[in-house]
């Protein structure tokens, strides 16, 4: 009951430090609600009680009661509690309590118009030098660079293993927003800003938690004709003759949705991925500057996945 | 007008100032914030800079980090002197009016304007010299700060010259052909123009050491 955040429609929290933020969100909104529920009825009652018909002559002397002073005192105390009890400690953890590098996934994220480049240091654990003209590409002469791995648009992580992101940008300001991880940090050119968090849910778990039956209607297909429809089928959709309309794990692209609809399927059981959303206006493509977060269940899976990007 | 605006010339009793006096000080307060903002930007940029004034101009080494290697300190010192002298002649011009000595006023005001023009000439020589050495605002942020701050200051000087020239030339009609009230009004205006002019001087007093010497 005291957890308003369930009712507020925040994205599913898949991170280690999300819970206190959500709790705080809920407390702030309790405070807001309390103030609102105090003043709104008072306001409406006063309007009714003191309308001219009922109160033809106003009372010159004002209210003497001190209750507004008490109320304001209450607000001060509530805000102080929020600050000292929640805001300062949570922020301090986020900003200062970095995990040990040896126990963390380390990744350098370089944003550009309009993509996210994830750079992993490879086996040697050292990032290669970059060249000034292509700050994402590795300098071929640097031996450290040889094993570095660049993944565009996908942030691969391991469940329960802390991540340290070294965030920067090579052109304009972007913002590295991970709604499910309660992470948002501007990527500012000229600065390399460290960010850390712990993914507590793997992509598999996330999809299971988010999976739901989505009706495909004329409307859904219409909406799906707008290209970015990023849900994934959570089960197979065979036709009567055994061929597949859609397979489990397949992205429900507009074409697939249409195929399903025409094949007589009216509901799909589907789930989304965790995403990276650019939260800072960065030019014409800002709206489409999307990345995905893929959290592997084990380190082995992670290594295997990264190996595929190692050319 | 059916009603005159009060306190245009005489001060209001409870505040002790006339409208224009208060107005110019308010304007100067905003100018303080304008130049304050620029100085704050300067501090911010300089704190964040790898090197200042910039390695690529005179190579690396101890000395190259000093501004006076790049900027012309003697010329700027001269300009400082010019500007404080003009500030003094400005206040003398006003005092002459107060003593009802109009020709002395014309003299001092004339000198003020000439000094101000001199300041701009020196400034132009300085700029020209920089351009000759291919040093432009775009060369690095030190020169950027130098050109933008001193440039904006020079614009303020130009504004002051225009105002003062008006009060030296056509504007004097108010004194020569006016009533006693007009004369008082004119003296007030010179005081106001003077306040502005001293402020321009004051800005330079901070610009000079922080840009040229440090």
């Amino acid at each position: 009951m005291n957890d308003l955040s369930q009712w507020m429609g925040m994205p599913l929290d898949a991170s280690g430090h999300g819970a206190p933020i959500d709790a705080m969100m809920s407390w702030v909104h309790w405070l807001m609600l309390a103030l609102f529920l105090f003043w709104a009825p008072f306001f409406l009652y006063t309007l009714w009680r003191f309308r001219q018909k009922r109160q033809p002559k106003a009372i010159y002397k004002g209210v003497k009661s001190k209750f507004s002073t008490y109320l304001e005192g209450g607000v001060v105390i509530a805000e102080a509690v929020l600050l000292v009890g929640f805001a300062f400690p949570i922020w301090a953890t986020i900003k200062n309590d970095f995990p040990a590098e040896s126990e963390s996934t380390i990744v350098r994220v370089v944003s550009e118009q309009f993509a996210w480049n994830m750079i992993y240091p490879g086996e040697d654990g050292v990032f290669g030098r970059t060249t000034p003209t292509k700050p994402i590409n590795m300098d071929p002469e640097d031996p450290n660079a040889a094993d570095d791995i660049i993944v565009v648009g996908e942030l691969h992580l391991v469940r329960d293993k802390p991540v340290i992101v070294h965030l920067s940008s090579r052109d304009v300001i972007h913002s590295f927003g991970l709604p499910n991880m309660r992470v948002k940090q501007d990527a500012i050119p000229g600065l390399e800003i460290p960010v850390w968090f712990v993914p507590k849910m793997s992509t598999r778990e996330f999809r299971e938690a988010m999976a739901k039956t989505m009706p495909i209607s004329e409307d859904a297909t219409r909406r799906a004709t707008y290209p970015p429809f990023r849900w994934y089928a959570m089960q197979d959709y065979p036709t009567a003759d055994g061929s597949m309309l859609a397979e489990s794990g397949q992205r429900l692209s507009p074409r697939v949705l249409e195929r399903l609809f025409e094949g007589g399927v009216t509901d799909v059981y589907a789930a989304p991925d965790m995403e990276i959303a650019c939260a800072q206006l960065c030019g014409g493509g800002h709206y489409s500057m999307r990345g995905t977060v893929i959290v592997h269940d084990t380190q082995e899976e992670f290594d295997a996945a990264l190996a595929e990007f190692d050319f | 007008m059916s009603l005159q605006i009060p306190y245009e010339v005489t001060p209001r009793l409870d505040t002790g100032v006339n409208n224009a006096k208060l107005g110019i000080w308010l304007f100067l307060a905003s100018e303080i914030m304008l130049f304050g903002g620029l100085f704050a930007a300067y501090v911010f940029l300089r704190m964040g800079a790898d090197a200042w004034p910039g390695l690529e101009i005179y190579g690396t080494g101890e000395m190259a980090t000093r501004a006076d290697q790049i900027l012309n300190v003697p010329l700027a010192t001269l300009n400082t002197m010019i500007l404080i002298a003009s500030s003094m002649t400005m206040v003398m011009a006003w005092a002459s009016l107060k003593m009802d000595n109009f020709s002395r006023y014309k003299l001092y005001m004339g000198i003020t304007i000439l000094l101000a023009l001199g300041f701009l000439v020196v400034k132009a020589i300085e700029y020209g010299d920089k351009f000759d050495h291919h040093l432009y605002p775009a060369t690095n942020n030190f020169l950027g700060v130098y050109f933008v701050l001193t440039g904006l200051h020079a614009i303020h000087v130009t504004g002051g010259i225009i105002v003062n020239a008006w009060f030296w030339g056509p504007g004097t009609k108010m004194w020569t052909q006016g009533t006693a009230r007009d004369k008082a009004h004119f003296a007030n205006r010179i005081e106001i123009a003077g306040l502005y002019w001293h402020f321009v001087d004051l800005v330079w007093i901070f610009l000079f050491p922080t840009i040229y010497l440090i």
Partner: protein, 585 residues
């Protein structure tokens, strides 16, 4: 008095001097008002195009075709800029401030009438430059109203126009601010002490200080950005930038954060520039229509001063996400929480004023009453934004958009309408139609809530702002995308509900019922009691009023009518009675 030629002489000065280059604060106020309303309508129009796109991404707009992302960004940046700098500020300060302040303090005009005229013309040309920027190659500024570099530095020519426009607008505001402060300090009529000034005058006074001292750093920043764009300096550009066109040929070494600091140093006080005059109008209308003094007038004034002071040191709450450490974020969180307290005090005082009143539900009163909960609601949504940890999920989402639209649209805009309905009879000598007013009010407040409340829900779900497709790219926003249609429909409904207002506004000029008395609302302040309706053209008052009492002496016990004007030299007996009853109470 001093000069024999009177107002009739002034009228012979021809059209241009009378209506365009006038130095009469009332004419200038009207000029400001009409221009600002037109800009508001234009800004609203841009927004409707955007809302069309948000509701149905990619669907063509009649006559205009489908929007491109670049167009969307232009419209967004210009909507923000126009609404704030060309709409609300000129309306709240330029129009209402100009027209009403000298009348309320018993001054013949502003202290510097010609400066006043210049200030309007700077504003006008600033607006023209802004609008003209739509027609330069590649269109208007598209880096948001915040113009963050490096994006703004590398943007197209429209951004340069935006900067020049801002320089003109800032100059206009600075001249205005000097004028307002001087006028209020110097030209108060006899007996008009500071604590007898109407709350509206106080609000304008503090607002003028905010404009005077907060705008110059943005002007400085504007010059620096202009230098970056025109002289190729790199104040805001760090080294090593590589855009899609290859490496950027600049010296580098600058800081993008510098701009943000300078911008928000202005822009936070600026939001109070938007709200304080609105509070002032609401206070006037409320006192008049409850027939009762403002509760805690002095406390409100002190809160106002404190609010003005604090508004200078909270700016970095817009920058929590830029990588702020613990010490500075703690400072700015604390100041942000502190600044909410005076707002709570003022709002509470206004609520409590209602208690014990004899409330007349006139049209201006409806708008003023609408302001109260709407501003409260918007203000409350500022709290989670002001705390750094909760700002993480909310920053740059529609929650922020929802927050500030609640304060500026159903907040400030309703208050502006309250002002228009309240002073229209004063300015024109005619009444506005009541029925149309009611339709306008109820239609506006309902549709505004339908537009802005879902924004909070979308923001909670994490939908970023400034998205060309409204968020369809992301699967996490899937569940809240359907609101976009509702919101856009409501936005068009909002437009429809402005039609009765437009009809009312223009028709009443000719057809409205003539006001039967000078003091149409039976008000206590000087603009109603000391000058005819409409006021004397130049000079405002036939004789300079003398002020005997505070601004809101309504329903004074023992007085014959339920209002006691500030300039009414009432028989001593009545005064004594009033004082006596006060002592008893």
């Amino acid at each position: 008095m001093a000069e024999p030629h009177s107002s009739s002489h002034e009228h012979k000065q021809g059209f241009w001097r009378t209506y365009w280059f006038s130095t009469d604060h009332k004419v200038i106020g009207i000029q400001y008002g009409i221009t600002a309303l037109l800009f508001l309508l234009f800004g609203f129009g841009l927004m409707l195009l955007m809302r069309w796109q948000l509701a149905s991404p990619g669907v063509e707009i009649p006559l205009l075709g489908a929007l491109t992302p670049e167009m969307y960004n232009q419209f967004g940046a210009m909507h923000g800029t126009i609404m704030v700098f060309l709409g609300i500020v000129p309306l709240a300060v330029g129009a209402f401030g100009n027209y009403v302040v000298p009348l309320q303090i018993g001054a013949p005009d502003m202290a510097f009438p010609r400066l006043n005229m210049a200030s309007y013309h700077f504003f006008f040309w600033g607006g023209v430059v802004m609008l003209a920027s739509f027609f330069v190659p590649e269109g208007a500024a598209k880096a948001g109203w915040t113009s963050y570099p490096p994006l703004a530095d590398i943007e197209t020519m429209g951004q340069t126009m935006w900067l020049w426009g801002m320089v003109l607008l800032i100059t206009s505001s600075l001249l205005g601010a000097v004028n307002f402060i001087t006028t209020i300090i110097q030209l108060r009529a006899d007996g008009m002490t500071f604590f007898r000034m109407p709350f509206f005058v106080w609000a304008q006074f503090i607002t003028a200080f905010l404009l005077l001292l907060a705008f110059p750093p943005l002007e400085a920043a504007g010059f620096l950005q202009l230098a970056d764009r025109l002289l190729d300096t790199s104040f805001f550009l760090p080294s090593g930038l590589v855009t899609t066109d290859g490496p950027l040929e600049v010296a580098g070494g600058g800081s993008p954060l510098l701009w943000q600091h300078l911008f928000w140093f202005l822009a936070h006080p600026e939001v109070y520039v938007l709200i304080l005059p609105a509070m002032g109008i609401v206070a006037e209308v409320l006192a008049n229509n409850t027939r009762k003094p403002l509760w805690g007038y002095r406390l409100m004034v002190y809160s106002l001063i404190f609010l003005g002071f604090m508004s200078f040191i909270v700016w970095a709450h817009h920058m929590f996400i830029t990588g702020m450490g613990t010490a500075i974020s703690a400072f700015f969180q604390v100041t942000t929480m502190i600044i909410s307290i005076p707002s709570v005090v003022i709002l509470s005082a206004l609520f409590i004023t209602l208690w014990g009143g004899s409330i007349r539900f006139t049209v201006p009163m409806l708008f003023a009453l609408g302001f109260l909960p709407m501003f409260g609601f918007g203000g409350l949504t500022g709290l989670p934004l002001g705390l750094a940890p909760t700002d993480i999920p909310l920053h740059d989402t529609y929650y922020v958009i929802g927050h500030f639209h609640y304060v500026v649209a159903p907040g400030t805009i309703l208050a502006m309408f309250a002002g228009i309905y309240y002073w229209y009879p004063k300015i024109t000598g005619r009444e506005l139609n009541n029925t149309l007013g009611h339709i306008h009010f109820w239609g506006s407040i309902v549709s505004m809530n339908v537009i802005f409340f879902p924004m909070l829900i979308q923001g909670m779900a994490g939908v970023s702002r400034r998205l060309f497709d409204g968020g369809h790219t992301y699967s996490f926003s899937e569940g809240v995308m359907h609101y976009n249609v509702l919101m856009s429909v409501a936005a068009f409904a909002l437009l429809a509900f402005q039609i009765p207002f437009l009809i009312n506004f223009f028709m009443s000029l000719k057809r409205g019922r003539k006001t039967t008395r000078d003091n149409h609302w039976a008000a206590t302040t000087l603009e109603w009691s000391a000058t005819p309706t409409p006021p004397v053209p130049h000079g405002n008052f036939e004789t300079v009023p003398t002020v005997y009492r505070g601004p809101y002496e309504y329903s004074v016990p023992g007085h014959a009518t339920d209002f006691l004007s500030q300039d009414e030299a009432s028989p001593p007996a009545a005064e004594a009675v009033a004082a006596e009853e006060l002592v008893e109470a």
